[in-house]
Amino acid sequence: MSGRDASGRETLGREVHGETQRGLEVRGETQRGREVHGETQHGLEVRGLTIAVPGRTLVDDASWSAPTGQITALVGPNGAGKSTMLRAIAGVVPERATVRGEVHLSTARGATGRLGTAGLDTVRLDTVPARERARRVALVEQLADAVPQLTAREAVRLGRTPHHRMLGFSIGDDGAVEAALADAGATTLAERRLGALSGGELQRVHIARALAQQAGSAPGSALLLDEPTNHLDVAWQLDLLELVRRLAADRPVVLTVHDLALAATHADRVVLVDGGRVIAAGDADAVLTSDRIRSVYGVEASIDAAPDGVAIRYRRIDA
């Protein structure tokens, strides 16, 4: 599935039934439309991303990728730079920050949205205009601050913003909004006000907004979710992960998460971040080892991989 290529770099994509995968890839070197076993790879790719505010480097030369068709989880301690990275990919950077590095998004040429299409369209997200970028990357933020009296449909319609001309109209809005509501399983919530929704319902509406933001854009647009399972009970967590899995079928999905067992169970790839640096990236079971967890989090972890998921128990390192 994944491993190391001849040059010792990690091979991020994987072949599925001989077809190409599309996704988002972030790496430390300049190479676009990377060939994997003679085929092109689709997805999101971050190369040498560095974000600094005066006196502090938040993200330090981070390179990783998120192939289309997979769920990629960013994990790491609080303040590791996970959210900062996600937001920067979506074009949101802290005040007075300097940003270096590249973010590439490769999608199937011809916008057919099918896996295995020959050819690759690569866009450098860090150089395209903000509206264009917003059509290709959608971000659902942690604790997304909702205006309580908006209805869900109105909130989803906000996702159409980057498609609008000055007068605030664009053809196909209604269709895009309804399709997004349906895809996120939020159609029955459409008339409810955000203030009256539960955390899980609200998260669905925010995801629907992200989908509406991309409808009509090139397929394979990236979906970034910051702590999507936060504050959700277990039933809603599973529900959300099921939705995310479905959405990942034809787009790169990147999410940040604190629960390592959840990442190991539900993500295809894990990017472990600490102090703004990428410590390891690759298959979940390869990245999340007890050694790494000890060095990054400073706790002992015993990992039990079962067919139905991964369980991790933690304890303090004895003095």
Binding site: L150, G159, G168
Partner: protein, 320 residues
């Protein structure tokens, strides 16, 4: 409804005039038919009441639209058009010329004062690190209180008798001295507010927060800066004509939001219309209710607006 209120406003007053006659008189001015009114009544309709009606509509609409935009820009339900200290700055200019007995210069002086206050507020917010909602509000509070202190100082020092009454009327907001010239200025102010009507999508996006707006491709900082300046200019023009009429820009947006919802594409024009109607009615009441004395319309809007706002708060309808 606006048209009906306007016609009623033209007719109400010390000199009662039948609606049909007023209409005919206006039509005659446009070259259709002849006026059934005497020369004096005709002059009252055309020279006194028409400009006042137009000014009330323009000022009311402009203030309400700016109020909506300001509330969205700083994400604060208590924001109103005067948040940036614009009206306080205008007051300084106005009071100075009124004391000096140069009443003709009032609109110019008021507008100049408004501009200075705007520059001070944005300069302060910018120097502190950028026009975030909180910084903008704080800078506005600082500038407004400094300007109010100046106004009090000038009044305490120099005002007497007529000048004092004149100043008070202006500070409270009044449409009593509206001429066709000042009505035209008000219309220009309202016209300047029209481009704000299409900012609905941007305001919707900003209401999600700056970073969510950024992820939607909207540059929150730049957008806020541009819209704040536009709002301040509109307010400055309107205030130079009418004085600082309170509560229209604060209460009307909240009341309209209850009816049409929070989506700005609809909220903006609806608030503009409602603001025009409310100020027109308030001004007619101010003019006619205590005949022959006339109240500054600012007293009427505050008398009505305060309890309305209190009621909205008590029912929990104001976004906090």
């Amino acid at each position: 409804m606006l048209v009906a209120a306007a016609l009623a406003a033209v007719c109400f007053g010390a000199a009662g005039i039948a609606p049909a006659d007023a209409f005919a008189s206006l039509a005659a001015r446009l070259g259709v038919g002849t006026t059934p009114l005497s020369a004096i009544e005709d002059a009252i309709v055309v020279k006194l009441r028409m400009p006042r009606v137009l000014a009330a509509c323009a000022v009311g609409a402009g203030l309400a639209i700016v109020g909506v935009v300001m509330q969205a820009l700083v994400r604060n339900p208590l924001a109103d058009p005067y948040l940036l200290g614009v009206s306080s700055g205008a007051s300084v200019g106005a009071v100075l010329v009124l004391i000096a007995g140069l009443g003709v210069l009032l609109p110019v002086a008021a507008f100049a004062g408004a501009l200075l206050a705007l520059l001070a507020t944005l300069g302060l917010a910018g120097a502190a690190g950028g026009a975030t909602p909180t910084r903008t509000v704080l800078a506005g509070v600082v500038v407004a209180s400094a300007a109010s202190a100046l106004v009090s100082l000038v009044i305490f020092w120099g005002a007497d008798g007529d000048a004092y009454r004149e100043i008070l009327a202006w500070l409270l907001g009044s449409l009593a001295s509206i001429s066709w010239q000042s009505a035209l200025i008000a219309l220009v102010g309202a016209a300047l507010a029209l481009p704000l009507l299409v900012s609905g999508r941007l305001l919707d996006a900003l209401s999600l927060g700056d970073s969510a707006a950024g992820a939607l491709g909207v540059d929150a900082r730049r957008t806020r800066w541009v819209l704040l300046v536009a709002c301040a200019l509109v307010t400055g023009v309107l205030v130079s004509v009418s004085g600082a009429i309170g509560f229209i820009g604060l209460v009307v947006p909240h009341a309209v939001r209850l009816v049409v919802g929070s989506s700005h594409a609809l909220l903006l024009p609806a608030s503009g219309l409602a603001g025009a109607i409310v100020l027109l009615v308030a001004d007619t009441v101010a003019r006619a209710a205590f005949d022959p004395r006339e109240l500054p319309v600012g007293i009427v809007t505050a008398l009505i607006g305060a309890p309305v706002f209190a009621a909205l708060m008590l029912t929990g309808r104001v976004r906090t």
